[in-house]
Symmetry: C2
Subunit: 301 residues, 2 copies
């Protein structure tokens, strides 16, 4: 699992500060999460192959999270993309995109499939044999979701030599990897646990931005390996966090602690701060495993 | 008059190639012409003061000419702008912008005044005591206008010493600068031409992008000092210019020659070319005073 931060700042694009966008490389997928203005350039700078992006998740319809999407869709068209593109976003985005395509008389030559999110409950929105994606309802000034990406349970590791020595037919190896007991050539039942070990632990990532401090998300993100949680402010501006429905670094850390997550990544910093070390310092008073997001930074797990 | 090229490439934003946007500094105005994705960053890089932009001209509704506008409008809001913003653009843009503002629940705290362009004739769309702006109807795949910026006739230069020696009351100096004859203290008529010289020549700039070769624009842009004319292609791809309704470098030069303009600036290069010197070479076979646009390049006239 690899997470690339394309942009982690709030508000407006600046020369060295891009608004929100991330790429999650998980279970053979390249998931794009949010798509602020300039995301195309950031994708190029970080050498992400455009053709590998098939699913885009948009948290909410504030410009610093989606103004780059219409341009990316247009670029896909110019690159003569053919593969379907799935967009998971609040209701309204489809209208924004199609209106602009219509005015430009430039319909895409590939399918854009909008999955409109409207529920205030956590929903399974994507699933294949390796991974699931669920929404995480957040509490912000407009309808907002975070996203939980979870690898599915992986196949068990088979001790092939032992299986052969126990006279198990090769045809049953798959069943063993899937966790079933099998019968060998002599008709003896072989317990799965005697010939397999657990597979690698499935990994999980939760993206939570933008949101006010919200304990309702804790059961949804419980025990995730990595949590990206916005921390627009420090505690010294807690009153602003409340009125603008954002979080402080300490609040993000409190969520991380209560949800028993592995590593917390902070981001979505307000433009008022120059020294981001203050965010990590504040968060560490509550939760120890904290990292700072930075444009272009890659987290490998 | 100063022209700053923020972006001069066609199609998509790339790491070192920005789509169309220009800033024209004329008669105390900072006019923004087109506003592709990334224009905000380019404005910052080129140290253009956001607060000085009061008029934005959008040629047409292809993404590489306006996808940066909604973000710029949002940034103005975050910067707590109060001054009115005038946008001159084809019908439809207002709907695009207001829909996104509505979804984000973020109305601007300043007035955005949309001047919807719908005519296929050249129209005067802005005027004050120093400058006029006219549309230049172009021929592209969607409704498109170029823009002609013309300084008004400037005041004549008064020879103050001569005026005093001729016993003209100071109260008449203004009239003299405006070109009138006046009567001196002795009641003698003084011819304007005897005490003034012509003021500096008014300057003019025409922006023509995107368009197929179109001689109908010649009478409108006749004798302008500077013409920016798109040259997406070279003659070797003339067939593509025709089908996509763009121009070649030679065609741009032909327009420049027939309209008797001062200097031609080429731009809007297709991504297929690496060597832009080929554009200048081709244009020079027809018209000698040719320059190449380049992102960040400043033309001072």
């Amino acid at each position: 699992m690899k997470l690339t931060i394309l942009g982690c700042h709030s508000a407006t694009p600046r020369i060295d500060a891009n608004p929100t966008s991330q790429v999650l490389d998980i279970a053979n997928h390249i998931f794009l999460i949010d798509c602020a203005e300039g995301t195309q350039i950031q994708l190029r700078k970080n050498k992400v192959k455009f053709s590998r992006i098939k699913h885009i998740f948009i948290s909410h319809l504030h410009g610093d999270h989606f103004f780059g999407l219409v341009g990316l869709i247009s670029t896909f068209r110019l690159l003569t993309r053919e593969a379907d593109l799935h967009i998971y976003a609040p209701k309204g985005l489809k209208e924004v995109i199609t209106l602009q395509m219509k005015l430009a008389k430039s319909w895409t030559n590939y399918n854009v499939i909008f999955h409109e999110l409207t529920s205030d409950k956590s929903k399974l929105i994507f699933e294949d044999d390796k991974v699931e994606v669920h929404t995480i309802p957040l509490n912000h000034r407009v309808y907002t979701n975070g996203f939980l990406f979870k690898e599915k349970e992986k196949e068990r590791k088979l001790d092939v030599n032992k299986a052969i020595s126990l006279n198990i037919d090769k045809a049953y190896f798959r069943k063993l990897k899937q966790g079933f007991d099998v019968t060998n050539e002599e008709g003896v039942l072989i317990k799965n646990i005697d010939v397999t070990k657990p597979g690698p632990k499935p990994k999980s990532f939760a993206f939570c931005s933008d949101t006010v401090y919200c304990e309702l998300i804790i059961p949804i993100i419980k025990d995730v390996d990595i949590l990206y949680h916005e921390s627009t402010f420090l505690e010294s501006h807690k009153h602003l966090a409340e009125t603008t429905k954002h979080s402080t670094a300490k609040q993000a850390a409190t969520i991380a602690k209560k949800a028993n997550i592995g590593t917390l990544i902070l981001g979505h910093y307000s433009t008022r701060y120059d020294d981001y070390e203050l965010f990590i310092k504040e968060a560490k008073t509550v939760f120890d495993k904290v990292e700072l997001a930075k444009d272009g930074k890659v987290f490998q797990f």
